[in-house]
Symmetry: C2
Subunit: 195 residues, 2 copies
């Protein structure tokens, strides 16, 4: 999924007239004049909106004699509507834990070291616990993305003020690698292209 398409979908849906058109077409195909009549808009305006809806493949048309019937492609609607919620629950902390059936021990450790706001209380001293935390932080970075050191610092700082230590640990634990002060994560996460 490219972000642009997802954005285009929502941008197209985010208009009262187009939502009304979708709502009408949900009852079955209609031709342009009918839509214009129901919505009290001119034909060119309807044409304009239909063209946008066709751009994202949400509406298809079929000519019959002189008039063109427009109808919904429900698959597109379902596909893009579910994209964001799916992303959030795949990517989000707690849900991901559930998905991966992360064992309770890990769960507890994360809960113990994080405030409810997602900040680290302290950096675990125990190696095992520390690795769990580091992997977790890593899981929140984006695969394939190159992070300048300054940017990585800022990111880590949203968890803990001692970003230097954590940054070093990420390298030592080989969760990230560095090249000319540019940091990158090992591939793990989907949705890399969004952030």
């Amino acid at each position: 999924m490219q972000v642009e398409k997802l954005v285009a979908f929502h941008k197209t849906i985010g208009d009262v007239t187009r939502i009304r058109i979708i709502s009408i077409l949900a009852n079955g195909p209609k031709h342009g004049q009918a839509l214009a009549g129901i919505l009290k808009l001119t034909a060119p305006t309807i044409s304009h909106h239909l063209s946008k809806l066709k751009d994202i493949n949400l509406v298809k048309d079929r000519r019959e004699k002189n008039t063109v019937y427009y109808f919904l492609n429900e698959d597109v609607l379902k596909h893009y509507s579910s994209a964001l919620p799916k992303m959030v629950s795949t990517k989000g902390d707690s849900n991901k834990m559930d998905n991966q059936k992360l064992n309770l021990e890990h769960k507890k450790i994360l809960e113990n070291f994080y405030t409810p706001d997602g900040r680290l209380k302290t950096i675990p001293a125990q190696r095992k616990k520390k690795m769990i935390i580091l992997h977790h932080i890593g899981s929140l970075l984006e695969k394939g993305r190159k992070y300048p050191e300054k940017e990585l610092n800022e990111f880590i700082q949203s968890f803990h003020d001692d970003y230097a230590t954590i940054r070093r640990e990420l390298i030592i634990g080989s969760i990230m690698y560095r090249e000319n002060s540019i940091y990158e994560l090992n591939p793990r996460e989907m949705w890399a292209d969004i952030v």
Copy 2:
């Protein structure tokens, strides 16, 4: 569900920067500076977008010391994302038939009198069949909405050219009622406010 809210939701989501913010917040809370750093935008710009996201309740915040943490309200995301697909499958002809376990006889009658495009071939002469067709047309109108006669004509005309007859039949069959040339349907359909 008011249309305005649904539109506002999609309009808000339909922006690259805001999608990216959502994607970031899917990993857990972040503060404004962090977002600005990651997205390489200024603080006021981030503030602007967060304010829009807060308007639709998709993002909440909590102050901690001097910095404000923003986090996603996933319920809102799921709620509004599912609204349109739900509407389409509830409202759409074939699906509604399935839902209501409309018996095969009705189904056949509807199929016999409708073209695949949703236009009426003829008005059934048999009373029973006529009522099935009329109820079906009524089911495509919106509960609680007042239809001026002209508008109702246009709507009916998208099914059949003889709108006068059908309009009269809708009244006789008490599917609609009229007051000062304003027509209204008996409550039946959800999503009344969209079309």
